[in-house]
């Protein structure tokens, strides 16, 4: 997206200025702010994301993280600008060094993978353009790849509730990374979990 268009979207929707002031400041970078704490329009999501492909693939992708509790020492829900930082650890260590001193991927995984140590839920965030259902968004959740750590429906509902509070650009569904057969099989067991699920097969 050309810089002038990014600036226009940010001007109209106040990128990053959403009650969590200061977490994702617009530093004037031509690729937009490093993150947003609220996403209200397709245009804002476009700033944060990269094009991937055409349906059945996601059209666009970026990343998110959301805290496991309302502990004020934790960061709020963040939608990461993958055009600025492609992966979570690089984003967190560069943008929030005070929160994550000496962060490496090992420490990052400890923050997100298991119930015992998890401080944040983290995953990919997709935009789909379904030929029948139209445009919707999907989020995945990283967990350790063991049956004991697969999320229960109520845990995913908690993540969903956190996200829909600040993501209002479109319908949101729980979905799965293509390599994550375990989460997908787990979700097939759920009946009326309280949120929509998109099974890509």
């Amino acid at each position: 997206m050309p810089r002038i268009a990014i600036l226009a979207v940010c001007f109209l929707s106040a990128c990053g200025d959403d009650g969590h002031k200061g977490f994702c400041p617009d530093d004037g970078d031509p690729q937009g702010p490093v993150c947003m704490t609220r996403v209200a329009t397709d245009g804002e999501y476009e700033i944060l994301s990269k094009a991937v492909g055409l349906f059945p693939n996601p059209e666009r992708t970026n990343k998110y993280m959301t805290p496991v509790s309302d502990d004020p020492d934790l960061l709020p829900t963040l939608f990461q600008n993958v055009n600025r930082y492609e992966v979570h650890p690089a984003f967190l260590s560069a943008v929030f060094p005070d929160y994550f001193p000496d962060l490496n991927e090992q420490k990052y995984l400890e923050l997100i993978l298991t119930r015992e140590k998890r401080q944040y839920f983290s995953g990919n965030f997709f935009q789909f353009d379904h030929p029948v259902d139209g445009r919707f968004y999907g989020f995945t959740v990283y967990t350790a790849s063991s049956s004991a750590e697969l999320l229960e429906a109520e845990e995913v509902k908690g993540v969903y509730d956190m996200l829909v509070e600040v993501f209002t650009a479109g319908e949101l569904r729980y979905t799965f990374d293509a390599y994550d057969a375990m989460a997908k099989e787990k979700a097939r067991e759920w009946v009326e979990p309280g949120f929509l699920i998109y099974f890509p097969d």
Partner: protein, 306 residues
Amino acid sequence: MRWMVLLVFILGCGNSSGHNDAGFGDGDPGTDRAADGGDGYDRVAWGWVKVLEVSGTYISGSEVGAYFAVEASYPRSLVHHLDIPCQQTQSEGNCSLWIHPALLFAGCDPPCNGDQECMYAGTEAYCQDLPAHWDVGSVTIQGLKTDVTMTPDDLDCYAASGLPADLFDDGDQITAGIEGGELGPFSLSAAGVADLEVANTTVQLQRGQPVTVSWTPADPESRVQVLLLSGPHDPTRPTAAILCDSPDSDGSVQIGAALVDGFINNHVVVQKFSRITRYTRDVQTPFEKEIELIVGSVVELGLILP
């Protein structure tokens, strides 16, 4: 291919940061490379050309690309090149277990550029330049339903886009013609393979139990490779992998319980694609090191772990 686009951007092949001349001193081939009695260059090249039809959850497409460098590196390798990121620790039958020697994951700050890999020394992460790479001019794949010609990007990565999912038929003679560029011309050839069909795209691993992966035999001239991968998503190296390689006519391969246990014991998270591939290939050493053409039909596999 579409989903692979995401992987490519994560891996960095195409994230341009300029030509990497690491190891070539001042960049003057006449002074930096030893004379070989020919035209003054002592060429050393490792590389690959891939021509793959891919089927998976999100994937319905093809992967056609190539890369040539003075030596191998993980970010620019093919997924079955496990000897680069891992060490083989066990083997049984047609399968082997590969483990990353240290379960550490690098995170470099600032992030490495597209021509570097984030590495670890003790607890310190640092960006290491990738081995110098070659611009070989154009790479033309002939024998496909539509011929493909690729030119390098700024990092000397070759990748075709916008190709159909159905690239070739069983038995088609497929030739990769390398124009030459900084290396000199050469070519590799391999046969097209039949589409791979599997009854189950999920592999369930249970501690202490062998597991069998099956396919429908269709092509006695080809082989089938099963690759199970674990670890954080790219660019992080895999933490554990199982690689099996069998004649297509076998129709299945059994992964022994010891290998399954080794994989389970060394995995943390699965954020990589496992796959089964029917393939033919041509490997030559025109410039000291192996250069490979692989032609294959790939089906992505999902892993279920205990």
